[in-house]
Each structure stands twice: as structure tokens, then as C-alpha cells.
């Protein structure tokens, strides 16, 4: 009996690995290995000239020291953080407000809640095209501003306004997504919790601060962290809408890394920028995984 049980579990184990391992090895091969390769690459001096000859050598941390000594790189790093934090603030607060609003049952609530998600599903490249058109000097946004008696700035040619324009386009995509994730958190709070609070005389504000926020704590943190991870790595939007310009004012780590690797073909320098991007995500990602784990238990 005992023996049979062991052989059954050995059989089960074999089955499990048969189903899981192909995907696992695929990920290791297409993501794990390139990740390590990228780290190694960032310590070398590989570019298009020594790619064929294979004459690239290790140069230690030189790529990194040169990057951090470079004013443009520091601007790009700052842009990435400004972009991410500004997007998070607007996406989260407006997304949360929308979630509270659309959670209610009224005619059209489900339909419209779903419809506005289209902006999230469509190619970011098209969002970039749209942004480029709507923020033109005599485009839609400035025309609308003119109608209410304001003079709009030269959004995409002025270094002060280019990043805000990109942020606005990104929020158009991010708000519905934040709303979606927060609604699923909100629906997990039972109505009777609110009802008993209402019987106790708690008003809307009190209910929000003392019931909604504490019960939503883990989903709020998850949404903020996922938001950070997905916003921080932005590429498509800037690449199409502004190409990082004017004067690097909308350049972020993703576009900057791409420029090094595939415009200047300095692969190692591009890899080093990507490592900086990864390091920032890593800190936030670890925190997120820690939370997920706590939730699994």
C-alpha cells in the first residue's frame, strides 16, 4: 500500500513537470538568459564596430560612471520619475473616484465602465499618434482652450509643456485601468459593513475614511505598485508622440536606452541604461511580491 502511494505521487510529479516545465524553460531562455546577458553587456564596450569581430572587452563600471556623469542622462532619469509619479497621482486619484462612482448600480454603469477601457486596450503607438495630432499648436486641445478664452502653449515644441502633454495622454490610458483594478477591490467589501456603519450614523466621508480605505489597503498598494512598474518602463508613447524631444524633455529611460542601442548602436551603453531602469523597478517589484505573498497566505 505504502509503495503504491509513493509510485502514484511520483507519477503525479512527472505529470506536473510535464505540463509546467516547457513554459518555465521558455521563460528562462527568452527572459532569464537575456537578463543576465544584459547585465554582462553593460560591463563591456560592445558597439556595432566590434560586434562582428567580437573584440569587445570588459570595462568595469565605466558605462555607469559615464552615464551618471552625463547631464542628459540625469535629465532623463528625472523625466522618468516625474512622468511616473505625475501619472500615478492623476491615474490613481481619478481612477479611484471613477471606481467609487461606477461601482454604484445605475443605468449604463456597466456598459460605460467597460467602454472607456478601449483606450487601455488599443496600441500605445496609436495613442502616440493621437497625442501628436491633438496637441499640435493649432490642434484640438488648443482649439478647445481658445473656445473658453485661453491661449494654449506650444505643447510639443516647448520643453516646459511637452512632458505634461505626454502625461495627459498616458493618463487617458491609465485612468480606466486603475478604475478597473480598484472596482474589483471595492466589490469585495460587503454591503452590510456599510449598512451597519450607516445605522451607526456614519456619513459618506466617515465611511470612506474608516471603512473603504482600510479595507482597500492591500488593493490600493497593489494598484500603485503595478502602476509604477508599468508606467516607469514607458516607451511606445514617447517614441511615437515626441521621439523623446524637444531637447530630451520627454526622453525617459526606455527611449534613452533604445537610442543608444539602436540609433547609435552602442549596445553596452544601452544595456547599462536598461540596468538602471531595472534597478528602480526591482526595488518596487520586491515590495510588491512581498505583499502578494502575504496575500497568498
Amino acid at each position: 500500500m505504502q509503495k503504491r502511494k509513493i509510485s502514484v505521487s511520483a507519477q503525479k510529479r512527472k505529470e506536473a513537470y510535464f505540463f509546467i516545465l516547457p513554459a518555465f524553460f521558455y521563460i528562462l531562455l527568452v527572459m532569464g538568459y537575456p537578463m543576465v546577458y544584459n547585465a554582462v553587456l553593460s560591463l563591456k564596450n560592445m558597439d556595432v564596430k566590434n560586434l562582428k569581430s567580437g573584440a569587445s572587452v570588459f570595462i568595469g563600471l565605466q558605462n555607469y560612471t559615464e552615464l551618471f556623469g552625463n547631464e542628459t542622462f540625469r535629465l532623463v532619469l528625472k523625466n522618468t520619475f516625474v512622468f511616473t509619479i505625475a501619472c500615478l497621482v492623476f491615474q490613481f486619484t481619478i481612477g479611484f473616484a471613477f471606481a467609487l462612482f461606477f461601482k454604484q448600480h445605475f443605468p449604463l454603469s456597466g456598459l460605460i465602465r467597460g467602454m472607456i477601457l478601449i483606450s487601455y486596450m488599443m496600441p500605445m503607438a496609436v495613442t502616440g499618434l493621437l497625442g501628436k495630432n491633438m496637441f499640435m499648436n493649432d490642434g484640438l486641445i488648443n482649439d478647445l482652450l481658445k473656445r473658453i478664452g485661453m491661449t494654449g502653449p506650444e505643447w510639443l515644441t516647448n520643453t516646459t509643456y511637452s512632458l505634461p502633454a505626454v502625461i495627459i495622454m498616458n493618463c487617458w490610458v491609465g485612468i480606466p485601468f486603475n478604475m478597473l483594478l480598484l472596482i474589483s477591490g471595492l466589490t469585495s467589501i460587503h454591503d452590510d459593513v456599510y449598512e451597519s456603519a450607516m445605522i451607526d450614523g456614519a456619513g459618506w466621508g466617515k465611511r470612506f475614511v474608516f471603512i473603504t480605505l482600510p479595507l482597500m489597503k492591500s488593493s490600493i498598494l497593489a494598484v500603485l505598485m503595478l502602476g509604477f512598474i508599468y508606467t516607469f518602463r514607458a516607451f511606445d508613447l514617447m517614441y511615437i508622440m515626441t521621439k523623446g524631444g524637444p531637447l530630451n524633455s520627454t526622453d525617459v529611460l526606455g527611449t534613452y536606452s533604445y537610442m543608444f542601442s539602436f540609433t547609435q548602436f552602442k549596445f553596452s551603453r544601452g544595456a547599462a541604461v536598461a540596468m538602471v531602469l531595472f534597478a528602480c523597478l526591482f526595488v518596487v517589484g520586491m515590495f510588491y511580491l512581498h505583499l502578494l505573498r502575504r496575500e497568498e497566505e
Binding site: I20, M31, F101, M121, A125, W172, L181, L277, Y288
Partner: protein, 278 residues
């Protein structure tokens, strides 16, 4: 707290919701309406909010371009190949993770969770160099290989709870009837999680369809690139012909809208479960 909403408040809420919908869908309207404007109106000095003269010539101009047609085909290839790889590897892995408890489960789960969050920028340069030596650059499979690496974790994380919720008795009954694990997987488990599978089909296709960065990096020739990656080529060809550019954009958005209309339930459910896009 929902049940107590008065009729008047309901109407007010619906009105606000309609305003929000108009605000959020207006850019999509803007995209589409521009594509039906003649040249004069599309880049004239006066901005119009709807086509005063209606024309399909911007669409005609795109459709007459052979590079456009191959790009459109390449976009479909990207979508379907990504979907294929994701289904082939992701669905079995989700099943294995959901139904069996084995050594290494935590490691597997962690790997899938982490790989879902990795930015394309991190693997782009190395993959380019690897594909370069493997002679994979400029082939149809190069981008789907890379895109699927983030679609597979999505599939695993989204589908795992689906498989977990299938009653064990269903599995056991199939085994008693003499089904092997592979047969049981195909004939019993997959039909039982149909909803989740549809989500994966739709989202992995869209991941391939929407991709820009891998497709433009791995394919240098315009004839190998999908629509997203050829935007710049068409933009420089059309200059400021926004009507043609927007017809191009509308065609890129069209499958998304169609899938969305018919599959909204699956897309929304999947996004909430996996909490990810890529």
C-alpha cells in the same frame, strides 16, 4: 448602500457617466472622423469637428499601398503567432500550477510573476544580439518569441485560479474512465475553463497586434514590419496628411474595437485576474 439610490439620483449618475464616456471616447472619435476628411479639410487652417465633406480617399490611399497590405498581414501574423506560442506553453503550465503541488511550485510562480513585470528595454538589446547570431532577425517568428515571453506568464497567472476551481471529481472521473493525463487535460479540463481560455486568446492576440518595440527592432525591412512598426515610414511618406495617417491608425484600432465589443466580458475579467497588459 446601492439599493437605496433614488430614481432621480440614478438618472443624475447616468448623465455624469455619459459625460465621462464622451470625454474618454472623444479621442477615438477624433481619430476616426479625421480619416474621412479630404486633404483640404484635414490640414486646413480652420479646425472642423466633423467631416464637412465626407471622403474615403484616405482609406483608399492606404489600401492601394502594397507595403500597407503586407504590414497589415504582418500584424495578423504577429498576433496569431503570439497567441499560438502562449496557448501552447501557457495553458498547460497554468494547469500544472493549478492542479498539482510539487517541489518548486513557489519558484515557478515567482518566475512567472517576475517575468511579467520585466520591461522590454531590459531584454531588447540582448535578444537583438542573440537573434542576430541565430539568424532570426527579419523573420516573422522573432517578435512573437519575445512578446510571448510576457504573454505566457500572464496566461499562467490568469488561468491558474480557473483550473483550481474545477472540481477534483471531474478530473478523477475522467481518469477512472481510462483517460491519461494529456487526454484528461484536453477533453475535460480545457472545456471546463473555456472562459479563461477565451480571455487568453484575445489578450495574447492583442499583445502581438499592439507590439511596437520588438517588431521595429528585430525587423529592419519595411516589408517585414507590422503596422505599428511602420508608423514612422508612413508618417514621413504622408507628411502632414493627417487624414491618411488617421485612416492608418483607425485600421490599427479596428480589431481592438471589434474584439472589445464582442469579447468585453472576457477581456475585463482577464485584466482583473491577471492585473496586467503585457
Amino acid at each position: 448602500m446601492d439599493g437605496m439610490m433614488s430614481r432621480r439620483k440614478k438618472i443624475l449618475c447616468a448623465a455624469i457617466a455619459v459625460l465621462i464616456a464622451i470625454l474618454f471616447l472623444f479621442p477615438i472619435y477624433w481619430l476616426v472622423q479625421l480619416s474621412f476628411k479630404p486633404d483640404m479639410e484635414a490640414f486646413g487652417r480652420v479646425l472642423t469637428y466633423y467631416p464637412h465633406t465626407f471622403t474615403v480617399s484616405p482609406w483608399q490611399e492606404n489600401l492601394d499601398d502594397p507595403v500597407f497590405i503586407t504590414s497589415l498581414r504582418n500584424s495578423f501574423i504577429n498576433g496569431f503567432l503570439t497567441m499560438g506560442i502562449t496557448l501552447l506553453l501557457g495553458v498547460p503550465a497554468a494547469y500544472g500550477m493549478g492542479r498539482y503541488k510539487v517541489r518548486g511550485s513557489v519558484l515557478f510562480l515567482l518566475t512567472f510573476l517576475v517575468s511579467q513585470m520585466l520591461p522590454a528595454s531590459l531584454t531588447l538589446t540582448p535578444l537583438y544580439l542573440i537573434f542576430n547570431s541565430a539568424k532570426l532577425l527579419g523573420t516573422h517568428i522573432s517578435s512573437p518569441i519575445a512578446i510571448a515571453a510576457s504573454s505566457i506568464p500572464f496566461a499562467v497567472i490568469t488561468l491558474r485560479p480557473f483550473f483550481r476551481s474545477v472540481p477534483v471529481t471531474l478530473d478523477e472521473a475522467a481518469r477512472l474512465d481510462g483517460c491519461g493525463p494529456v487526454r484528461a487535460f484536453f477533453y475535460v479540463m480545457i472545456p471546463a475553463v473555456k472562459t479563461g481560455i477565451i480571455t487568453i486568446i484575445v489578450i495574447s492576440f492583442l499583445n502581438g497586434w499592439n507590439d511596437l518595440v520588438y517588431s521595429m527592432t528585430f525587423n529592419v525591412g519595411a516589408d517585414m514590419r507590422p503596422l505599428t512598426a511602420n508608423i514612422y515610414k508612413f508618417q514621413s511618406a504622408y507628411g502632414t496628411k493627417w487624414n491618411c495617417i488617421m485612416a492608418y491608425g483607425t485600421i490599427l484600432v479596428l480589431p481592438v474595437v471589434i474584439l472589445f465589443i464582442f469579447m468585453q466580458k472576457y477581456i475585463v475579467g482577464g485584466l482583473t485576474a491577471g492585473a496586467v497588459k503585457e
